[in-house]
Amino acid sequence: MSWSPSEPMVSIKDVHKSFGDLKVLNGVSLDVMKGDVICIIGPSGSGKSTLIRCVNALNDIQQGSILVEGQEVNDLHLNKLELRKKVGMVFQQYNLFPHKTALQNVMMAPVRVLKHDKVEAEATARALLKKVRLEGKEAAFPGELSGGQQQRVAIARSLAMQPDVMLFDEVTAALDPETVGEVLQTIKDLAEDGMTCILVTHEMGFAREIADHVYFTDRGVIVEHGPPETFFKDAKDPRTREFLSQIL
């Protein structure tokens, strides 16, 4: 399917998702343009993590449509590899491969999945680790790194696949407060480079600073959305206001 950069890079339309009897997404729609940084906020259990996990088909959906650069994700014959080349994902718990060094973690997918040349992949991996400010940690195993360092390796690992859009699933939620900043800075650098980013986050200050658009979800629907300046200053919906008053 052809896609042009004037169309949304990720287009989510009326998505429904349940786990058994539990309805998690109840008709969610949103568009992300190339280069956009959007933040999804909301109380736990509101479906925000599930929503971004649906974008790269880690969760399937029961109804609706998700287009990533024109590729329909809600498709029984989905080419997952094609999709995952386009979509990178970073998780709350980093999920690095514990038996591989930082460098190997970053190199592995390009070599195994994309069949890139090892020497080239290693050079790219070293450059990426430098970009996330982890020069000198190439030979360290994940267990030898701090949470913040591990999360930055995870970001580099995801970038090594040269994705067009990055999904961040509460990536600072498991970190010590003093390492949150370094991870947020890395994401900010990426956003400034023009990477399309979808973030699920509890970092309101960060969302306000970096997002082009903020979405508030509750009970599986988008309650309210808008550019951060207006969203954080004068939210209209009482649920949004209550949530923001508890957090800010």
Binding site: L58, L81, R84, K85, N95, P98, P142, S158
Partner: protein
């Protein structure tokens, strides 16, 4: 060397402690062959039982119900029956059903000899346990780690080979170690179908020399040493596989 061997002949003459496999070259050959056969049978069974374990555990994760059922049926049969019965079943039941082949002297020989049947039977026996051992290790690998690999575009097979299995291996090494020790000891059952392994050859020697006590002591020590080597090798491997900062 001759002096060393002769010393045991003197020992026998002076004390009555009879170790003919040291001073008698015929018995010595028998013992060496037995020892090598035991080692070779052990290695073959170790190798194939681990392969069966790895593949079986992979098939257990299959999305086809019947694949999983067949693997589980295999495990139940081989885990819940005595290995000697299995060995007899393969050698006498399956073995006699197979066609015979003409041998070098124009006679009829079975398609597979006793060594081959012992290797097949014991590999399946230990393999059944290995499947369960590997499954426990695979279940210990966090689902989130597998998800991260999925998100990077890894195929199911790549995930198993590059992520799940190497991590599971580290978890299961102590249990695998136990099962492989058992396997080496179980190779003595091959005696029952006349595989010329160490126990069988020792039996030949004590039948000829009536030195049962000496041979029994020797066998005990020989197996103790053999398994000791395996265990220390596995322990070394376990240490070498340790990941800094993990587990």
């Amino acid at each position: 060397m001759e002096f060393f061997f002769d010393w045991f002949r003197v020992l026998y003459d002076e004390t009555g402690i009879n170790l003919p496999f040291l001073y008698d070259s015929y018995d010595r050959n028998r013992m060496v062959n037995g020892f090598l056969t035991t080692i070779w049978l052990s290695l073959v069974c170790l190798f194939f039982s681990v392969i069966i374990g790895v593949i079986g555990a992979w098939l257990q994760g299959s999305s086809f119900k019947w694949t999983r059922r067949i693997v589980n049926g295999y495990i139940q049969i081989f885990r819940n029956t005595p290995p000697l019965v299995q060995l007899y079943f393969f050698y006498f039941a399956i073995g006699t059903l197979l066609p015979k082949v003409e041998n070098d002297w124009g006679g009829q020989s079975p398609l597979l000899g006793s060594f081959a049947w012992a290797a097949i039977s014991l590999s399946f026996f230990a393999g059944a346990f290995n499947v369960e051992i590997f499954r426990s290790g695979i279940e210990a690998v966090p689902k989130s780690t597998v998800e991260a690999a999925e998100a990077l575009g890894f195929s199911k097979l790549m995930i198993y080979r590059d992520i799940t299995l190497p991590l599971a291996f580290r978890v299961v090494l102590p249990a695998l170690n136990n099962n492989l020790v058992n396997l080496v000891k179980t190779t003595t059952l091959a005696y029952a179908i006349a595989v010329p392994e160490m126990l069988y050859e020792a039996n030949q020697i004590w039948s000829d020399n009536v030195n049962v006590t000496e041979m029994m002591i020797f066998l005990l020590l020989a197996y103790f040493a053999l398994v000791g080597v395996l265990v220390s090798g596995m322990n070394r491997w376990e240490r070498a596989m340790k990941i800094p900062g993990y587990g």
